[in-house]
């Protein structure tokens, strides 16, 4: 069985959804009530691969909402409690979706292996970052040419280059795509220098310089809400792949040759009988999902019960090949700029 740990995109959405599902006790509660709410296994689902293989899974809502980010202890508990529930339910491989993996990583939850009477087994969990990184690279390779960007001549900026997904994307770009130049952007200098050394190339840029020079911008860092960008200084055409969480780039850019693409989202080849992706505001909630969730499904399809994506900077090209091949074989495709230009399935 595979598992997905997710959460609502806002407190108001969470309340609305809880009411629909009949969780009146928390639907009517204020944020303090939600802070004390246990994680909920809200849905069981069956998924049939393009190969015909059937797997079962469960969706767990951690009852975390982004409004809790400023409450460190609460956020930590929400993630750990949801993971404990997944393990107690005997789920083999669970993906940490949305803020879940970000909280796990940034709040250093590896040190919290013991949750009550449960010792968390990390091998049952995956951040899903390998699949996300692979999907973002696919989105770049498939969509850039469609808006007239020749990758051989293109400058590709990676914002958040030194993170787990960012560094994997850089590795792929550098080894598999032949892009003209990789512009590396991140907050801390030393990891950037280390990454540049590892890649044997790429130039270190400020965000401002990268944005004005890049034909493609891959965002894998959350963008601060306060960031203001002058669209007129961007290249035309410019492909923006919004691989961060939450996806808020299209609020900031539109038109004038700027194409914003929801990064790290995949579409399954047929409808899945679940309701949970409506929570994540997917355009086609019966088919679309975060690539990290799909990774848990792929690992279950492949009987690969291991923490495939774990820790930071462990994503190799071989792992990306493995998960990418599995992704195509089982019927996933990367979401494109519009429904007419999506990647071919299988």
């Amino acid at each position: 069985m595979f598992g997905l740990i997710g959460h609502s995109t806002s407190f108001n959405d969470a309340k609305r959804k809880a009411l629909e599902l009949g969780y009146d006790h928390i639907a009517e509660g204020d944020l303090d009530v939600w802070c004390t709410a246990p994680p909920q296994l809200v849905e069981h689902v069956k998924v049939v691969s393009a190969t015909g293989k059937t797997i079962e899974g469960a969706y767990i809502d951690s009852c975390f909402v982004p409004e809790m980010l400023s409450r460190f202890k609460t956020a930590r508990r929400k993630v750990l409690n949801a993971m404990e529930l997944a393990q107690k339910k005997g789920i083999n491989i669970t993906a940490l979706g949305g803020f879940t993996s970000i909280i796990f990583e940034n709040f250093n939850l590896l040190q919290n292996k013991q949750v009550r009477n449960t010792t968390l087994q990390w091998e049952r969990f995956t951040t899903g970052n390998t699949h996300t990184a692979w999907v973002i690279c696919q989105q770049l390779e498939i969509n850039a040419p469609k808006i007239g960007i020749d990758l051989k001549k293109a400058r590709v900026a990676v914002v958040g280059a030194t993170g787990d997904i960012g560094s994997a994307v850089c590795r792929w770009l550098s080894n598999r795509t032949g892009v003209a130049e990789i512009l590396l952007v991140a907050r801390q200098k030393q990891p950037l220098i280390d990454l540049q050394k590892e890649l044997g190339g790429g130039s270190i840029n400020t965000l401002e310089d990268a944005l004005s020079n890049a034909d493609v911008v891959i965002w894998v860092a959350s963008m601060p809400r306060t960031l203001e960008i002058d669209s007129s200084k961007l290249q035309n055409p410019c492909l923006m792949i919004d691989g961060g969480y939450p996806k808020n780039l299209d609020e900031k850019f539109s038109g004038n040759g700027i194409h914003v693409l929801k990064g790290g989202i995949v579409e399954f080849f047929k409808d899945i009988g679940w309701s949970m992706m409506e929570l994540a505001e997917m355009e086609k909630p019966q088919r679309e999902m975060f690539a990290c969730f799909a990774e848990a499904m792929l690992l279950e399809f492949e009987n690969c019960h291991t923490n495939f994506s774990w820790g930071r900077n462990n994503i190799t090209l071989e792992k990306m090949d493995f998960i990418g091949n599995a992704s195509l074989r089982h019927g996933f495709s990367a979401v494109g700029l519009n429904p007419n230009i999506q990647a071919a399935v299988v």
Partner: protein, 242 residues
């Protein structure tokens, strides 16, 4: 939506502050709060002993097993009494008796009417879930002596919760209505008991929000085990909110 880079999310500071800071066990304020919390635990274990013996009278075929559970509670009581002594604290037993009086009264009334379901819900589910949640939170901030004792106790308490769960699960068809009614009357008491000790618990570095969450997790798990569905559980849990 907030992002991880939002100004209100100060990750670096949070990580530095993340290891749980232990309180000063010798501080007067700590001992003062401990005198009430410790008393509640001692009284709780004592009443649990009495309650399991009583339930044994209602379910004679299980009386031997219930006696075993009761004896464990007595052992816990002695353990927690030692925890108080170890810190040089005199437990405020009158406070604890009053603290449990309403719940105790409800148990006695159900017992006198032979309402097994209500008795089990109060003792084997609500009180056990309350104890488990409090002990789980306490273990993280307890002095080394008490930590060891509490770790042993919490393992036993899961067995007790399990006993009640299994009985109610086996009899769910006939006891559901009484269970829902008993929940309605007693769950709010647990909530108000938690509110009453929140200030003292805070001095012991036990966070009220965490206590409530731990309780809701243990309680929900238990109701799921009994075979109640999400909607029924949601309706029952509502009694803790309003």
């Amino acid at each position: 939506m907030a992002t991880i880079a939002s100004p209100e999310v100060d990750i670096d500071h949070d990580i530095q502050g993340s290891p749980l800071e232990l309180p000063d066990f010798s501080a007067e304020s700590y001992k003062d709060a401990y005198s009430r919390i410790n008393a509640i635990v001692i009284e709780g274990e004592k009443e649990a002993y009495d309650n399991y013996i009583s339930i044994g009278n209602l379910i004679p075929e299980n009386a031997a097993e219930l006696k075993k559970l009761a004896v464990m509670e007595m052992k816990h009581m002695r353990g927690f009494t030692a925890c108080g002594k170890n810190l040089g604290v005199k437990a405020d037993m009158p406070f604890a008796k009053k603290f449990f009086s309403k719940l105790h009264g409800n148990f006695q009334e159900a017992f006198s009417k032979g309402n097994i379901t209500t008795c089990l819900l109060i003792q084997a589910i609500l009180i056990e879930a309350f104890a488990i949640s409090a002990y789980n939170v306490y273990i993280r901030v307890a002095d080394p002596f008490a930590k060891k004792i509490t770790e042993g106790v919490v393992k036993d308490e899961y067995l007790h919760l399990n006993y009640g769960q299994e009985w109610l699960k086996a009899n769910l068809d006939t006891c559901k209505e009484e269970l829902i009614q008993a929940n309605k009357e007693n769950l709010p008491l647990i909530k108000s008991m938690l509110d009453q000790v929140a200030t003292d618990a805070e001095i012991l570095h036990m966070d009220k929000e965490e206590l409530m969450e731990e309780f809701m997790i243990a309680y929900q798990d238990s109701l799921v085990e009994m075979g109640l569905d999400n909607r029924q559980i949601a309706r029952m849990a509502l009694a803790a909110v309003v």
